[in-house]
């Protein structure tokens, strides 16, 4: 079955140039965001500690407002690997 999308004309040089420029801009933006997010790590460590505390007391949202208290034995440990703190992929 054919769709309109299958009949799209070839890209012109102008369109290719527009795409190249926007792709390059996006790449810079991606790298800027990744760096900014790395810069939040000290704060994020605090947020994670607070989260792990909340789920052991108030509980973890299993489904909707249904909560379950997580036991200390269930709390995960931070893995020793380079991407452990990565949030932008």
């Amino acid at each position: 079955m054919r769709y309109v999308q299958d009949e799209k004309p070839e890209r012109t040089a102008e369109v290719k140039a527009w795409l190249d420029e926007e792709i390059a801009t996006q790449q810079v933006r991606y790298e800027t965001i990744a760096t900014e997010m790395e810069g939040l790590q000290d704060k994020r460590n605090g947020w994670i500690a607070r989260f792990l505390e909340i789920i052991q007391n108030k509980g973890f949202n299993v489904n909707g407002d249904l909560r379950r208290q997580i036991t200390p034995e269930e709390i995960p440990e931070r893995p020793d690997r380079p991407d452990a703190d990565k949030v932008v992929w």
Partner: protein, 322 residues
């Protein structure tokens, strides 16, 4: 690659550029790219049209979604004001556009880079019955977030604006009430996109996302826990079925999350899992479906599986079907 992970991006800090792509009316139209697929050119733009802007009737070779953020745009005889949502199927000859006093909107090209061809008749292959026009603020009801199960916590509500029956991709408005909180970490099998129309929300990985905040998040990436101190309203989309996988490991990566999702499938849909894995059943274009015999050719289905045959310079896939 498809669209990279853009999160968080606050577009209000960026300048508009003139929209000069061939075929479009450049005078009075401006854009910012929020995210862009580097292979096929599909993209989400924030656009501004100045007062007095007009465009003749015409069509695109891509499905388009439009959400009016502010101001008003006249499409033929219909006045589209803030909150208005349009889904314009590829090949649909949209009526002439006039912008009386300026407007801003999100414009999403789902299949390829922006394209426009002047025409007052639909393309012969156009699936014109897919056209949607609705004011999301006035004509769509808020529904509880348990539309999806497992569900978000109470206080996160949703208005569905469009639902794709083949892929279950949805476009929607959502809101978080003031003091919304949800203490879990979430990920999905689908890509997820959001633009904060007003208000702010917080996620443990990314911090505060304010008004004008945006993300395009590929599948299996952790986000949450969640807070919204003063509430927020946002436009969101997924590219396929939204399933909430909740957990409490802040350090899991997308590969581990995907394995966990597959393990759930192994446990919960054992026969399907075994069948899909068995010899000869793992064709990349998917099995046959007597109810939807041509689904392999559907542009959205092809897109989410990375199958595309658009001419471009980055890399090329063009698989033959059996």
């Amino acid at each position: 690659m498809a669209r990279p992970h853009i999160e968080p991006f606050v577009e209000l800090n960026e300048d508009y550029k003139n929209f000069t792509l061939p075929g479009f009316t450049p005078l009075g139209s401006h854009f910012k790219v929020l995210s862009l697929d580097t292979d096929v050119g599909s993209c989400t733009l924030k656009m501004r049209f100045d007062g007095g802007y007009s465009r003749k009737p015409g069509l695109s070779y891509s499905d388009i979604e439009i959400f009016v953020l502010n101001g008003a745009m006249k499409v033929g005889g219909e006045l589209c004001v803030e909150g208005h949502y349009l889904f314009v199927p590829a090949g649909y000859a949209l009526d002439a556009i006039e912008v009386p006093q300026g407007c801003e909107m999100l414009v999403m090209y789902n299949d390829s880079e922006p394209s426009f061809m002047e025409s007052d008749t639909h393309h012969p292959l156009c699936l014109k019955e897919g056209f949607v026009t609705v004011n999301g603020y006035e004509d769509a009801p808020w529904a509880p977030g348990n539309l999806v199960n497992p569900s978000v916590a109470a206080g996160c509500l949703i208005k569905v604006l469009r639902y794709d029956v083949l892929t279950e991709a949805i476009s929607f408005l959502y809101c978080m009430t003031p003091q919304f909180m949800q203490d879990n970490i979430s990920y999905h099998d689908c890509a997820e996109e959001s633009y904060h129309i007003w208000g702010s929300s917080w996620m443990m990985q990314f911090g505060e996302l304010p008004t004008g905040g945006y993300f395009w998040r590929p599948p299996y990436i952790n986000h949450g826990s969640f807070r919204s101190k003063l509430g927020t309203i946002a436009f969101g989309r997924t590219d396929s079925k939204l399933h909430n996988y909740f957990h409490f490991n802040p350090w899991s990566n997308p590969d581990e999350n995907k394995l966990r999702a597959a393990a759930q499938m192994y446990r919960q849909r054992p026969q399907l899992y075994q069948w899909a894995l068995s010899d000869g059943h793992n064709h990349p274009h998917g099995p046959s479906d007597f109810e939807n015999p041509h689904y392999h050719d559907d542009p959205q289905v092809k897109h989410i599986h990375g199958h595309h045959d658009h001419p471009h310079d980055h890399h090329h896939h063009n698989h033959d079907h059996d």
